[in-house]
């Protein structure tokens, strides 16, 4: 049921991000959302893309470390207070968020948040119980 994120280890070097995004573009992979976390020596690039398989193959071919990570994708309304409402559900369930990013699309009046917690299944149960709709790779491909 899970949403799969592509996680790439990125060199802390000028142009590193250009190389990766160019490679994805050449393969026709569309990036829906991304976030970057930087550590002292490198960056962790997290991507939600239109075609995971193609993306993994292309980036691995560049010699980069890449991984598919299960994350929680949730559909939330595109209006003030919608993100905080969803976060409150997790907070009430005592769930700590490791990282989170959000995106919206032009075609549908919806926003989406992508998050990672220690126990993804627990977060998914809490959100579903509160009436939220979880998204999967198939949903992302249709966006």
């Amino acid at each position: 049921m899970a949403l799969k994120q592509i996680t790439v280890l990125v060199n802390n070097q000028k142009g590193a991000l250009v190389d990766i995004t160019e490679t994805l573009a050449e393969k026709g992979v569309n990036i829906r959302a991304l976030s970057i976390a930087d550590t002292e020596r490198f960056g962790i690039l997290r991507l939600i893309v239109s075609d995971n398989e193609k993306a993994v193959e292309a980036v691995r071919g560049m010699g980069c470390l890449i991984q598919e990570t299960e994350v929680v994708g949730v559909k939330i309304g595109d209006a003030p207070g919608k993100l905080s409402g969803a976060l409150k559900v997790l907070n009430d369930a005592g769930i700590n968020i490791e990282y989170l990013y959000a995106f919206c699309t032009r075609t549908v009046r919806h926003a989406y948040m992508v998050l990672r917690v220690a126990d993804n299944a627990q977060a998914e149960r809490a959100l579903e119980a509160a009436g939220y709709h979880l998204i999967t790779d198939a949903d992302v491909n249709k966006l």
């Binding site: 994120q5 996680t7 280890l9 990125v10 060199n11 976390a37 550590t39 002292e40 020596r41 490198f42 962790i44 997290r46 010699g63 980069c64 470390l65 890449i66 991984q67 990570t69 490791e98 990282y99 990672r116």
Partner: protein, 440 residues
């Protein structure tokens, strides 16, 4: 007080050689009779104890290496019954390369006398208060100087290393006149005192004996200025006994080897050929009268030069330079021996590829120790906290292997510098000893 043991320390060189030869004959027989490992080595070379008539015949004997010591761990080189031993000391927690040295009471006395000689050479007598801030325990630094200070009759402050506030308080309150520790810790104490507003002329110290790690002439000057003292070097290794194998006198021009207990040779590290005095080569020691752990022709891997030139202090013992480098890949970081292969072992144990680089530098007179490790696909995680945890876990594993804490940094693959296709494993930015320094 000029010497601790004047008759031997100033013995004419010819007499000294006779003394050495006499002790060597006995020692070779003792070793041949009691250590099957040596007996086999000597038999293999076709050498019998009676072939060794003087120190000139030393070159007939086989060398002993660190690998031999490792193969013989723990009791293989013990030359007396275990019941006759009173102590062990050990090299800094280097798994797989650990050396355990045994001592009878005679061996402890001999070692402590060597340290007492070093203290006297640094200007100490029984009125002095000696602050020993080397680590105590398996490490020979604390035990050696502690024993030497007792032997000389000094009031001894067995501080061990660390707790700098207490070091300074005891030094000031109890009037310590001689400080014994690693040079980097001496520099650190000097800095800490400066920060607390204690001027060099306000501390009671007059001299310091600093060893167990390489240090430069510049560092000596910095310590002497920072503490208002004379700073003396001391050399030793656990395999041979500990600190005090050689020591500096007031001339500060090389370290006098305690030749009534140890014979020193310089060899070509590649061919094993004995080189004449004044040549640069690997230092080799033979222990003349240790009972429990008597090593013959032990290769130290330290590169030095020897000088028989007369010293104005009156001692006739040969002098050696500070080690100018190593003939193997061992690093000495904060006084601890580190082999790159140990880092490799940790990485493989922890499931990483052996792609790493050790970076050593000296900042404010203290060694910095960083290990860069290339991330692998298996270990790669999507969270920052995950990366931090991995670095911490590696650091913990390295600490338990090496005995000191490196700063571990995970890096992206293929970022570690390679030289002609071969990864550069060690970057040592410390500039310690220059050839021109030797004026012996």
């Amino acid at each position: 007080m000029k010497y601790f043991h004047e008759s031997v320390e100033t013995m004419p060189v010819e007499k000294l050689r006779e003394l050495q030869s006499e002790k060597l004959r006995k020692q070779v027989k003792h070793v041949y009779d009691h250590v099957p490992f040596y007996r086999a080595k000597m038999d293999e070379k076709g050498v019998k104890p009676e072939d060794i008539r003087s120190v000139d015949d030393l070159r007939l004997l086989p060398f002993l290496s660190k690998a031999d010591l490792r193969d013989c761990y723990p009791f293989g080189l013990l030359a007396v019954p275990k019941g006759d031993c009173v102590r062990i000391q050990s090299t800094s927690g280097t798994t797989g390369r650990r050396v355990v040295a045994f001592y009878t009471q005679h061996d402890v006395d001999l070692w402590e006398e060597c340290c007492a000689r070093a203290l006297v050479a640094a200007g100490a007598d029984n009125e002095d208060v000696v602050q020993v801030a080397y680590g105590y325990g398996l490490f020979t630094g604390g035990a050696g100087l502690n024993g030497g200070s007792h032997k000389l009759g000094c009031l001894t402050l067995p501080m061990s290393s660390g707790n700098t506030d207490r070091q300074i308080q005891f030094m000031m309150d109890l009037g310590a006149t001689v400080l014994c520790c690693t040079p980097s810790y001496a520099a650190y104490i000097a800095e800490a005192m400066h920060e607390r507003g204690i001027k060099p002329e306000d501390n009671p110290l007059k001299a310091g004996i600093f060893g167990a790690e390489p240090w430069t002439e510049e560092m000596r000057q910095a310590i002497e200025k920072g503490l208002g003292i004379k700073a003396y070097d001391i050399y030793g290794l656990t395999e041979i006994s500990g600190p005090g194998v050689s020591f500096e006198c007031q001339e500060q021009q090389g370290m006098h080897v305690n030749e009534d207990h140890f014979v020193v040779e310089i060899i070509d590290p590649d061919t094993g050929e004995v080189l004449p005095e004044g040549s640069r080569g690997e230092l080799v020691f033979t222990s003349l009268d240790k009972e429990a752990f008597p090593l013959l022709r032990y290769r130290t891997r330290d590169i030095c030069v020897l000088s028989r030139k007369k010293c104005s202090c009156g001692r006739t013992f040969i002098r050696m330079t500070k080690p100018m480098g190593r003939s193997d890949d061992m690093l000495i970081i904060r006084g601890v021996n580190v082999f790159p292969s140990q880092i490799e072992t940790v990485l493989l144990n922890e499931g990483y590829a052996p792609n790493y680089q050790i970076v050593v530098d000296r900042v404010n007179n203290t060694d910095t120790f960083d290990v860069l490790v290339e991330m692998t696909e298996d270990k790669f995680t999507d969270t920052v906290s995950g990366v931090t945890e991995q670095e911490k876990a590696l650091q913990g594993a390295m600490k338990s292997m090496l005995g000191i804490n490196p700063a571990v940094h995970l890096v992206t693959p293929h970022t570690i510098a390679r030289s002609e296709g071969k990864a550069v494993r060690v970057v040592d930015k410390r500039k310690l000893v220059s050839d021109s320094q030797w004026k012996g």
